[in-house]
Symmetry: C2
Subunit: 356 residues, 2 copies
């Protein structure tokens, strides 16, 4: 059986509807027993030997190789779409190109492929996945990552699926610091020489100033973002400073981190306001790791999330995204991105690996 | 007992040599029973209550807090050095500030602290570690990372030790591709429609073009860097191309990756020339993962290293370094950096976490 190339679809006559659409979910019916399939679907049918050739407008008969090469120059990311289409087919899914008038059509302008739940046919019920196909070098604007599944094709044509969603935090850390904490701003941290009871042990603020046999039992060092979070809420003042603590600390923060400091502070405060405790994520290469419920530092469970703070209009590099998501998965935490505007407005995004 | 501040050292009289230097490895002897200690050491003695105060040039008696604050404005990274010094002391090590004329002096201009093997005293034998102290925001020029141990103090004052060294590769992958491979350059990969025997199975070149029931059994896709590596050695030619394959592929590589492509190709070729097989490291956020010995892809052991290609004059961000090293450790691979000049010259560097 042959197909006929018309613009960017391939028309198939004969008993194509029954053989390809009804039985196996290829294409969209066009009346009678005829169907149209997308170039990706046609390539797959050629690849499997279900079509012999596609006839182009010159009347040339194209085999798989010739049709693949010609489609690659006609269609954006054709090779990548084909790989993802073929792999999902091999995994037993039906799927359609996401385009107007086709089965499973949706309104997300970024979607490339619509995948149906296993055992269901195109257009029956809600799609299982809305797939955006990207290469490993394709920059990914954060705005595209809403309720889609990314299929990232790496340079050796292996595919990683990344699922995106909205995180929820379930905070239950109820410690409230007193209003009377004082400290010294020293370089890029604040030392609280006499910290109040529970400040570190229950509030998990700062880090004790080293452990053994010291003359100061309660000295605690705060990071700049912890100190700023406290100072902005009037819980912290500085010795040797005429200015307001919040002003002096934020100025120091901007001096060492630039405007990123304000974004990180906004995220820190948003988490604390939900009774979630953010601590540094440095060891994981992230901005924060988070604890939903800290009752006592002596009895701490593992942190649940890693949070990376990025600009609201951030563009992800797929390789960096892969690194973050892989690391978070390896330590059984959720990877969360805080897309943070200069005004402090935050949109949250989780990204995790998926095996369809 | 008090110390006397003189320039940037603190002189201690009485029986200081016996009490602090001989018994516990602080400072350097200056004649009789007198010693000089660095500011960091003096702060540690104050912190432990072994010194009561340090008397400054005005005759003021400074306690730990006052001496710490004054030293922080006088000495570069004083707070960080103190934290690392105190933590290593707590772990049972003797250590000295690395400076001319002091015990364990060394010639590496970057070293901050010299740490002696457990159970040995300052100046006895070779140091166990030469420590460079950095904050988590300090950019680290790659050139500083030669036979040193980085102590990275994160924003919450936790310390990560990173050991650096030279990797050796123990390659034993002996497959040689034939001279006759041909392919099509399609977007950012090369498809070899009919690959020779063993090309994928033994040489681990490319990736089969999807698995099941296909009309083409031996079609393999190569990444651009794999294809360029083959083309430069005259193993690959392109259909539909008048130019030399190497030229066309490298041009495409530069179009999608910029000048990084040439560096990555240099590293790829250097590894293959040592009979090591580099494959994409995308899933780990790296440039390559490497296999020392590939006999057959069906019987592949885990890859041993992750390789990231960076410029010869690269400056590391400690947070990115932490992310890479953490991820590599989590998957039991060595993290290797290939510092690669524009001329293709490569210096190799391993970085791994260390618990002193």
């Amino acid at each position: 059986m042959n197909g006929q190339l018309r613009d960017d679809v391939v028309a198939i006559a004969g008993n194509a509807r029954q053989q390809f659409y009804d039985a196996r979910g290829y294409g969209t019916p066009t009346g009678g027993n005829h169907i149209e399939v997308s170039r990706v679907e046609a390539a797959h049918l050629l690849f499997r030997g279900d079509l012999e050739s596609v006839v182009d407008s010159d009347g040339s008969h194209l085999d798989f190789e010739a049709f693949f090469v010609s489609s690659a120059s006609a269609v954006d990311r054709f090779g990548l779409r084909f790989l993802v289409y073929a792999e999902l087919r091999d995994r037993g899914f039906y799927l359609s190109p996401a385009r107007e008038g086709w089965p499973g059509e949706d309104t997300n302008e970024w979607t490339d492929l619509t995948v149906y739940p296993r055992g269901t046919k195109p257009g029956d019920g809600e799609p299982a996945h809305r797939i955006v196909v990207v290469g490993e070098r394709t920059p990914i604007p954060a705005a595209t990552l809403r309720e889609v599944t990314l299929a990232v094709v790496d340079e050796e044509s292996e595919i990683t699926y990344l699922e995106t969603g909205m995180p929820t935090f379930d905070g239950g850390s109820t410690y409230q610091p007193p209003a009377s904490v004082t400290g010294s701003l020293i370089d890029d941290r604040v030392v609280v020489w006499e910290s109040p009871d529970g400040f570190f042990d229950h509030g998990f603020y700062g880090q004790p100033l080293t452990a053994r046999e010291a003359v100061l039992d309660n000295a605690v060092q705060l990071s700049l973002v912890e100190a700023a979070g406290l100072a902005v809420e009037d819980h912290l003042s500085l010795t040797d400073e005429d200015r307001l603590a919040a002003e002096a600390i934020c100025e120091r923060g901007r001096a060492v981190e630039g405007e990123r400091f304000d974004r990180r502070l906004a995220v820190y405060r948003a988490l604390r306001s939900q009774q979630v405790v953010p601590k540094t994520g440095y060891k994981f290469g992230a901005d924060f790791r988070t604890y939903n419920t800290v009752a006592s530092v002596d009895d701490l469970s593992h942190s649940e999330c890693l949070v990376r703070v990025v600009d609201a209009d951030h563009t992800f590099d797929p390789r960096e995204l892969s690194l973050d998501v892989r690391l978070a998965g390896g330590v059984r935490k959720r990877m969360v991105f805080a897309l943070t505007g200069a005004n402090g407005n935050i949109e949250w995004l989780t990204v995790s690996r998926l095996t369809p």
